[in-house]
């Protein structure tokens, strides 16, 4: 079970992502599988990226959307679990780079929808090839099973 103090950052060596017009678009550049999340999901992604922890993400969701703390916690946890399962994020050191507090003060709260990670597997060959797959990092590349030989 993940802790509220945990941070989950995008696995940038394989995952390209950006929030465009309020929708988070994610591409796994090794497999060509791509993902989308709008509204609450896009907000969650926007906050995980710079290193906000789960607690801070939940606070941001409840201050922007018309939702109870309990509901938001369940949904954010579920979403983060799914992001982990799809290998889109990895757990990182707590309290990393961000300095500013999450500021989402606003007068009227927006109607809430349960965040959803949409998964698309219909253009794998295309997105994994043009351009070539990354994933090598800056260190010399090794066979995945080299150490087990």
């Amino acid at each position: 079970m993940l802790s509220l103090q945990d941070c989950f950052r995008p696995r940038e060596e394989e995952i390209a992502s950006k929030v465009i017009d309020g929708e988070a678009i994610l591409i796994n550049l090794a497999t060509g599988v791509y993902y989308s999340m709008d509204k609450v999901g896009a907000l969650v992604w926007d906050l995980l990226q710079p290193g906000y922890n789960v607690e801070e993400v939940i606070s941001a969701v409840t201050s922007r959307y018309d939702v109870t703390r309990e509901q938001a916690e369940v949904d954010v946890r579920d979403l983060v679990e799914e992001l982990l399962q799809e290998n889109l994020v990895a757990s990182t050191e707590n309290g990393t780079t961000h300095t500013a507090e999450v500021t989402t003060e606003q007068q009227e709260k927006v109607p809430y929808e349960i965040p959803k990670l949409n998964i698309y597997r219909d253009m794998g060959d295309l997105l994994a090839l043009d351009p070539p797959v990354p994933g090598l990092g800056d260190t010399p590349w090794k066979e995945p099973d080299e150490s087990s030989k």
């Binding site: 591409i27 219909d122 090839l129």
Partner: protein, 253 residues
């Protein structure tokens, strides 16, 4: 029945180093008739002289530097063939590339476009990099949804449109997605018929690591977002799924 003319369009920007090899690989095609159109995208090197050395065998058109999509579209506007194909100035076709593809169109009158597998190769100066990639996915034959593998009916571009000139990179992916969204009939030949050259100056990848540049990643994210938006028109919640040919076992020719 007479063979159909294939227009072979080569966009090039400062490509003097490898251009001759690319053009030779087109001239070595076992298929005829072909016309070769080089679009010089405002090169400042010896590109023009390389093309001129072929005399009348190659048409040379020049445009002020405007990027690959505009160069490809310029080539399309000048093309006279029933079919069109593209080759980048640093890549190579195998001699049977056009023959094998055109045979598929004869077999399947409903076919709109045909792509093939492709294989990368490293220039000798990058032998060390090549060695590092031994066994990596990138060093194996891959399905090529890139312009270099494409053979399409020229009329298809009237339906799908040309390459998006607002995109400095990622325009081929955008074009293939728009084609798929329109239900275009595609075939992926398992034969490896295109060789893509990895050198120090490949556009849009960091040399050495072959990772996409942030600029390229950003471009691809926008291409995907635009496709999702188009497929969700009419307030559909789920985007219309795309259908691409099922990949097969690649065949080295």
């Amino acid at each position: 029945m007479a063979n159909s003319l294939i227009s072979c369009i080569v966009p090039v920007f400062n490509g003097e180093r490898y251009l001759q090899e690319s053009l030779d690989s087109i001239l070595a095609q076992t298929y005829r008739p072909i016309e070769i159109i080089v679009i010089d995208d405002g090169s400042t090197d010896g590109t023009r002289a390389v093309v001129a050395s072929y005399g009348d065998a190659i048409r040379y058109l020049w445009q002020p530097n405007a990027g690959p999509p505009r160069a490809r579209n310029f080539g399309l506007s000048a093309a006279e063939g029933e079919f069109v194909a593209f080759l980048d100035a640093d890549d190579l076709w195998l001699p049977d590339k056009l023959s094998l593809q055109i045979a598929r169109f004869r077999e399947r009158p409903d076919l709109d476009l045909c792509v093939t597998y492709c294989q990368v190769f490293w220039v000798p100066e990058l032998a060390e990099e090549e060695a590092r990639f031994q066994g990596h996915r990138l060093s194996r034959p891959l399905p090529g949804y890139v312009t270099q593998t494409l053979l399409a009916r020229r009329a298809l571009f009237a339906k799908v449109g040309g390459f998006d000139t607002s995109r400095s990179v990622g325009d081929p992916a955008d074009w293939f997605l728009r084609a798929a969204e329109q239900g275009v009939v595609m075939e992926l030949l398992p034969d490896v018929l295109v060789y893509r050259r990895f050198h120090k100056n490949n556009f849009s990848v960091e040399s050495g690591t072959r990772r996409m540049t942030p600029h390229m990643q950003d471009a691809m994210l926008h291409v995907v977002k635009a496709s999702l938006d188009r497929r969700r028109r009419d307030n559909a919640v789920d985007p219309m799924p795309l259908v691409f040919p099922h990949p097969q076992q690649a065949k080295k020719v």
